[in-house]
Structure formats: structure tokens, C-alpha cells
Symmetry: C2
Subunit: 215 residues, 2 copies
């Protein structure tokens, strides 16, 4: 519940900030974008919002709560990125090709976001979270679909097309997710950091193909 806002535009800028929570979140997103979740610093956020350091505590109980809010937004952005590719998969192909296309869309969208927004990607996942959170529509796309949900849809399509046996379906999300996520981790903070983008992209393609084949 947010209180309705009736202050004049002028009085906004004086004492009351207006929407400090949003401003802090935005600052947090900027910092995460540049340096990942560890680069989110409360005081700097208040500084950018032009406000005293402890004003942040009127909107976030804790630094970690700001980080989590940033993480939520990053997760939603990721979901949008995946969904765009997901929805672009041609529907008129044969069922197996279609299912493969969906699965590839999820994997490619995932990796694409990871390398386009490394800081935010890390913020999305290097944060206390659980499976419920990963499936909560609040953190999904505008249509409420999280990456995990989209992956599930793709896998269901695989089963329906006969490209994946029903008994292998349960838990298959974790297998596909792990593979793609691992590459992102290794290439973002890990030992593959120095790998050139082209090689990483090619490896991503091979990885997705491997998952499709091995599931």
C-alpha cells in the first residue's frame, strides 16, 4: 500500500524527496550495473539521491534489502530478455523443432543477458534467494513469467513433442539451468573471465546443443 501523493511538484524537491525509495533503487541498479552486487553501497546511493545517509533506512530495513530489491529488478529484466526471444520462436514449425527452438531461446536469452549486463546478472543470482522466489511472478516479466517458468514451458513442449521422455521431465529444469548458469558464472567472475566473447558465445551454442541432446 502506497499513500496517495498530493504534494506540489515544487515542494517535492525541498524537504520531502518525493520518491526516495525509487531513487535509491535506481542508484543501486546503476552501481550494480557497473560492479555487481558488492558495488551497491548504501551511502553512495543516498549521496546520489542528495539525501542524508540514514534516510535510506526509512525505505529499506537494511543494505541487504536494497540489494534484494535490485536483484528483483534484475531478475525481471532477465525475464523480459528471455521472453522476447521466447515469443519470437516461429510457431508453425514441426513440434520437435518448435520445442527445441523454445529451449534454445531460453538458453540464449539467459546467456545474452548475462554478458550484456554482467553486473546486474550477478546481482540477480548472488543474493539470498530460493526456488519460490525464482518462480514468483512478481519477479517475472510484465506477463509474470520468470526465467524458470519459461524454461518449464519449453521443457513441457519437449515432452509433448516426444523429444523428451515423460519420466525424465521432473527436475529437468535444474539440469538445463545449471549448464547455462555455469558458463555464465565461469565467464563472468570465474577463470573464463579472460575468454574472448566470440569463444564464449560459441561455447554457449554448443552447451545448449549438448543439453538438448543429453536431457
Amino acid at each position: 500500500m502506497y499513500t496517495v501523493f498530493t504534494m506540489s511538484q515544487a515542494s517535492r524537491d525541498r524537504y520531502r524527496h518525493g520518491d526516495l525509495r525509487q531513487a535509491l533503487l535506481e542508484a543501486g541498479l546503476d552501481m550494480a550495473r557497473e560492479g555487481g552486487p558488492d558495488a551497491i553501497v548504501l551511502r553512495e546511493a543516498t549521496r546520489r539521491a542528495g539525501v542524508a545517509p540514514n534516510a535510506a533506512y526509512r525505505h529499506f530495513a537494511d543494505r541487504s534489502e536494497l540489494v534484494r530489491a535490485v536483484s528483483d529488478r534484475a531478475l525481471a529484466e532477465l525475464a523480459e530478455g528471455i521472453e522476447a526471444r521466447f515469443d519470437a520462436v516461429p510457431a508453425d514449425a514441426d513440434p520437435v523443432a518448435h520445442a527445441h527452438g523454445l529451449l534454445r531461446a531460453v538458453g540464449e536469452g539467459y546467456l545474452d543477458y548475462a554478458f550484456r549486463e554482467p553486473g546486474l546478472f550477478r546481482a540477480a543470482f548472488t543474493v539470498p534467494a530460493d526456488l519460490d522466489r525464482a518462480a514468483d511472478p512478481v519477479r517475472g516479466s510484465a506477463r509474470g513469467r520468470t526465467p524458470l517458468v519459461l524454461l518449464g514451458v519449453a521443457l513441457d513442449a519437449m515432452v509433448e513433442a516426444g523429444a523428451l521422455s515423460a519420466e525424465r521431465r521432473p527436475g529437468a529444469e535444474l539440469l538445463a539451468w545449471s549448464s547455462v548458469h555455469g558458463l555464465a558464472c565461469l565467464a563472468l567472475d570465474g577463470p573464463l573471465r579472460a575468454l574472448d566473447p566470440a569463444t564464449v558465445a560459441a561455447t554457449g551454442e554448443r552447451l545448449i546443443a549438448m543439453v538438448v541432446r543429453g536431457l
Copy 2:
């Protein structure tokens, strides 16, 4: 190059610590074991060594250098863990089964260490590093074999046994590594954190099977 040490045992404990570098490293390992790389704090290390905060700077240029030293040790420990399973694979089986066994040994050893020593595992990888470092014998087992090298041996065996085509061999390390590493990431810091160990272990087995099948 280290200077030879000729002080008496008694005089060691007074002014000169004796082996402060080692003591700091040990303290760093303890802290990382409990809370991962972020839990490594320089001042606390000096405190545990019974020494002034800035004494650390005689042995490490930087906090990050201590973290890296801890990371190196963790990487070596991981290598030992994998190597133990690796060497335990029976050699008299048929070539394909043997190669599969080696690959499974690497994957299982990797995951086993990740869940047995989550803090150290994260310290090993959440640190600036590159591929050279991951293949440097200095950071390997006592026999100088790093996890990456062991994985390479297993994959070579796959090719020799005819279980993996030669043209798919180059870069296959990255595929196998990513898959297994991803599960570890998701289950340690990520959204799978709350997953019960049994499920994680079972997923690990399925994941390795998927890699063997899909490579």
C-alpha cells in the same frame, strides 16, 4: 625465494612472529571456510595471528592478495579431492566404461568438494583468475594436476575409447565444467540454496549423466 630462518624457537614468539605469512593464510582459510571469500577480513587475520593490523602488509600487498592466496590453496584442495576419486577408478574395465568412470570421478569430486567446503569452493572461483591459472600446476594437487587438467585427461580417454568424436573434443572441457559448476553455484549462493542435499546430489548424478550423453 625465502630467506633461511635461523632464529631460535624462543625468540620467534616475541617480536618476530616467525611465519606470519603462513599464519595469516591459515586464518584466511578458516574465515573463508565459514563464510566464503567475502568473510576474509585482513584485520581479523592479524588479530588471530596476534599482531598489529598493518603487519599484514609486509606479506601481502593487499587484501585481495591474501584472498588470492586462500583461493590458490582451496583450488589445490579441490584438485586433491578430485584426484583421489580419479585414481580410484578401476583400470581393468572396458575402455568406454573406464572413460565414463574418469569423467564421473571428476564431476563427482568437483561437486563433493563444493558441498563439503562451500566457503572454500566459492573462494576458489569467485576471485579474479584466468584459464592459465586454472591450468597452473602450482595450484594443482601434489602431483601438479589441476581440476581442469584432470578433466582433460578424462575427455581424452573418452576420445580414445571412441565414446566422443575427435572433432567434438576441442573445448569440451568448457561444456562439462560449466554444467557441473552451474549446479554448484545455484546450490551454494543461488536460488537452489534451500534445496535439500539429497536432491542436489541426485541432480548432480543426473547432470553428469546428461553431460556424458550430450557431449
